[in-house]
Symmetry: C2
Subunit: 219 residues, 2 copies
């Protein structure tokens, strides 16, 4: 079920499924994006501070994104990154590890500059099979209001909570186009909502996540 801004609240938890880190995937990712010895060479990795092969942190981030896209937190229009405040890898991810996520909404706020959107701050912790955090992220995500609420706001009404959009409301893409036109010509008349509804807009991307033992402990 697609979620809108009014569906989120601080303290809300979200869980994900799990995924096992295949050894060949660790090598493939590292070969393409992060060709450093501790990701690729078992002997060199033993000599490193990782004390064994470890997945690239960016591989962990990418696997986290996949788990996020498939988890129960499904903002309408996709997962939209508006910037990360924190991203850390407190422990190495080993080939064969099984990862899962716990996310928590830290903050929900409206954007006064963008009446159809808000921001949720989310902490997402990626855990291994021993429940040890291997990645911690805190990110802000842009979230749309429910279409009907957005229409109400753009029509001059308040952001009353109206659950779920109906077939008769314009699509979010249209609402955003109107909003863009309004911001481009701030002195123009209130834009008229179009009558035909096109497919819902899909927005940006990106996960969110937070805090815990400092990475320094691994070094």
């Amino acid at each position: 079920m697609a979620l809108y801004l009014e569906d989120f609240a601080a303290g809300q938890p979200f869980l994900s499924g799990s995924a096992t880190v295949k050894p060949e995937a660790v090598a493939r990712f590292a070969t393409e994006f992060d060709p450093q010895p501790f990701h690729l060479d078992a002997d060199a990795a033993k000599e490193s501070l990782f004390r064994g092969l470890a997945a690239s942190g960016w591989h962990t981030a990418a696997m986290t994104m996949r788990l996020l896209v498939e988890c129960e937190m499904k903002p309408a229009g996709g997962i939209i990154g508006a910037g990360f405040e924190e991203l850390r890898w407190p422990k190495p991810v080993r080939p064969g590890d099984t990862l899962r996520l716990t996310s928590e909404v830290l903050e929900v706020r409206r954007l006064s500059s963008r009446p159809t959107q808000g921001i949720i701050k989310v902490r997402t912790v990626t855990l291994n099979q021993h429940d040890e955090p291997v990645q911690i992220m805190v990110g802000n995500h842009t979230i749309a209001f429910d279409h009907a609420v957005a229409v109400r706001i753009l029509s001059g009404g308040g952001p009353k909570t109206i659950k779920r959009r109906t077939a008769s409301t314009p699509s979010l893409s249209m609402i955003l186009q109107i909003e863009l036109r309004q911001s481009e010509t701030p002195d123009s008349e209130q834009a008229t909502l179009p009558k035909a509804a096109s497919s819902p807009i899909t927005l940006c991307d990106l996960p969110g996540v937070q805090n815990s033992p400092p990475l320094a402990t691994q070094i």
Copy 2:
């Protein structure tokens, strides 16, 4: 040439080579890690706020890592991430774009708790072929002192700058093992440096980068 902590200074710039973003790579990465319509379906992407196909932000981060690993900033022991304070994608990366990096050292500091290591804070901006920032990161990286300097510190001497290690100095892995033993048994005698030198240690991973136009401008 491998760089040690004493080789870094605030304000120091580093450049990278460039890499072109292959359309099939955008689709492949998104299929595996970020299967959202604006990364995979040209028609859906046109309807999205990206207004066309865009690479996953994590793909951009991974490509940035590859450029960093190959750039002139080569810390001895690898690129070690000690945490990111900022990670943003101000503009979408399009299939066919050509990316390059500009990095700048923002801060260099010693770690009083770890006499053989220090931290450099680095801002890395990923630019497209129009010189527009597509990713901004600010990260802290753990950097080793030159081996000879580390030996001097562990022997009770000050961190005088001694460029490049010599064959007769112990490897960093040995020094770190000694340091670990010392911190595990803080009241023990000064550890004796081993005589045989093993291969240099390779440490953690990760790039660093910084600030500019807010991501919100793309939404």
